[in-house]
Amino acid sequence: MYEQDPAAQFVHQVSAGYSLPQTLPQYTFDETPLRLTDRRGRGGGYGGLGGPGVGGAAGRSLLYSPIFSTPASANAAGVGPASSAAGHFNFHTTSATSASALTSSVPATTHHRSSPPHFAIQKMEPNPEDLVAQEAAAREFQPQLEGPFVGEKTPSSAITSEYAKADPVYIQKTAVLPRTYSHYRPIQGDGNCGWRAIAFGYFETLVKGGNKGQIEAEKLRLEGLNSYIETIGGHSPYVYTDFVEETLLLLDRVAALAGDPEQAMREVYATFNDSEIGNAIMYHFRLLASSYLKGNQDTYGAFVTDEAGVQGYCSNVLERHQVEIDHLGVSLLVDVLLKPVGFVLEVAYLDRSPGSEVNSYRFPEEARDRHPSTLGPIIYLLFRPDHYDLLYVAEPEPIPEPVTVQVHRVAFSPTYDIASAPVSMPSYGINMGVLGMLPGFHGPPPGLAPTLLDTSPSPLSAYSPSPTSTWMTPPFAEPPQQAPPVSVAVQAAPVPMSLPIHTAPAVVPAAPLQTHPLRFSEYCQLPEYVENDTWREPSFQTSTFRNSHFNVAHYNNPNFQPEEYRPEAEDYEGPQRGNGKKRASV
């Protein structure tokens, strides 16, 4: 489709003039994990409307509109993964100096050479016809939509691998994402995803609560809001009854299944994947949000940036099918739908802003600085520019002692890695410095390792922070006597972060298999190792190592393999939240 696009030809033309690499169009249209949403008809080269929901529109427009090469759109484009590639050439530079520098270094055609700055301006101005054609193409562009409206719960490491070749900021952020949020649920990017995600999250949270009384109360409350839609929102009952009815019917069905959450979730899932019913429920919520805005203009009116005012914003954005929710829309929907029932919404923003983790933001405002345990149920959303998905944190569990964490790592390192793979030593950072001073550091007796590895849960007391207490201390050999208290600690520890030797088979059935023959040590080849399934790769957790190419989860690693999580082990992979930071600082 793009090769025939006149706009694409224009890019060729420009690139020839500048003698830019011929791969330019390829950069622009490179396959990208960015989900394309926002089908609003006016999708063009505008940006900066404010609010996370719309900011990404300009990013999309660049991906498909190479001629919108103004500096503004170039900046706005720095939100999508693909723009990392686009950012490598200075095509968007319009300053006369760099443009003339380009031309002088290039055997340009003669009439261009005569007046470089003029040439620059001329060539950067797109042909109006191309602009029109491009705008028409952008207007008619329909993203290829795949999959169900609401997908199955998926390990969020899938996001990590999706971004494995994206911008470093994305790699960093998606690499740590699965620690906090173990799973996500993809939502179709048809322009309704934010509305759909919140609506689904609302029903899912009701189902998880399992409180029939609460669900019935919600039905009554939403029924009561009909008059609000009518009087404040100004919508005829003939319009809204169809939409509201579907919401109420689903609440009925969920209430009837309140004792059977699994069946109720299947019901919610099937309902949301029925296009008509799912759309009706979403549209009901759109009407609620727009009515709420009309009824609270004093509070929210100032946030309406649409030049058509509140009424125009309602009919142009909130009430239009397949127009994405923006920040104001989220606030409105939370206030009218989630807040009265005590649900909290937390949005994790995955974008190219500086930082090593996704930024999260909580609605409503008063829930922002409070500990999750003091809040009601939380619905988590993942926002990537122009798209929302649902996220899930594993249920919080007791946070293990940080001492346990550190000592385990020290104890394990020499047996596994030092003797076999010295190349990864620097990755251990501080720990290695300490270890280097220990006697016996360079050559653990071969006979020791099996014993050590068979000894799954080790007594904590044996690993006091003192650097002189080494892994050779006797308690290793006699774990049973102190095993019970330790096994509790091990259970509490997040599996992906703890080293395999502490993962007793009883705790985690069917441990993840990561086969990387090159990294085996000679000890690992021993039959008893293989039998015990103890030769697996440890999950390296120091931030230095994690971000280096020695980590197999790093895309530069020759044995690259994304981290894997298994839903069935979810209960044990849990408490990454809040715990992750502690470990990273160790």
Binding site: R253, I277, H321
Partner: protein
Amino acid sequence: MSYMDDTQNSAPGSLPASKAATGAATSKKVNENATKRLQNELMQMMTSPAPGISAFPSADGNLLFWRATIEGPEDTPYAGLNLKLSFEFPANYPYTPPTVLFITPIYHPNVDFSGRICLDILKDKWTPAYNTQTVLLSLQSLLGEPNNASPLNGEAAELWDKDPALFKTKVMDRHKDIEED
């Protein structure tokens, strides 16, 4: 609300049809949803009619095709004229707008000679909150207040301001009452 209680979604606890639905069953179901909505709208047109407009499904019993009539508002060149329109509703109505055409030949800046209408709410400004009645009311006001900035009929747009008398003549020349088929 009793008239809609006979749909398949009413029984609490019943699974949505999509679970076992084949493609054909799904599209049938989509039609049912659009049909349900159109039944509501028909009810609205009959119980709370707006002055000067009317609409009814075509004679063949298919709820997705409607005929509508707009009486030309007073103080407009269309005063006293009866203008007929056809509505074709898509299967996923109300999420996409109906296709609306003037069947009666009409001379108007925003209507071309095939009866096609240039009105934003029938295109990209459509929302599922609009319905047949609001569309007809919008078209009624469009008769008196054309959007001359984006005309389909350039001559009409020009004459509207320049020569109202000639405009009125052209309207009457073009108008032709059509038989109900």
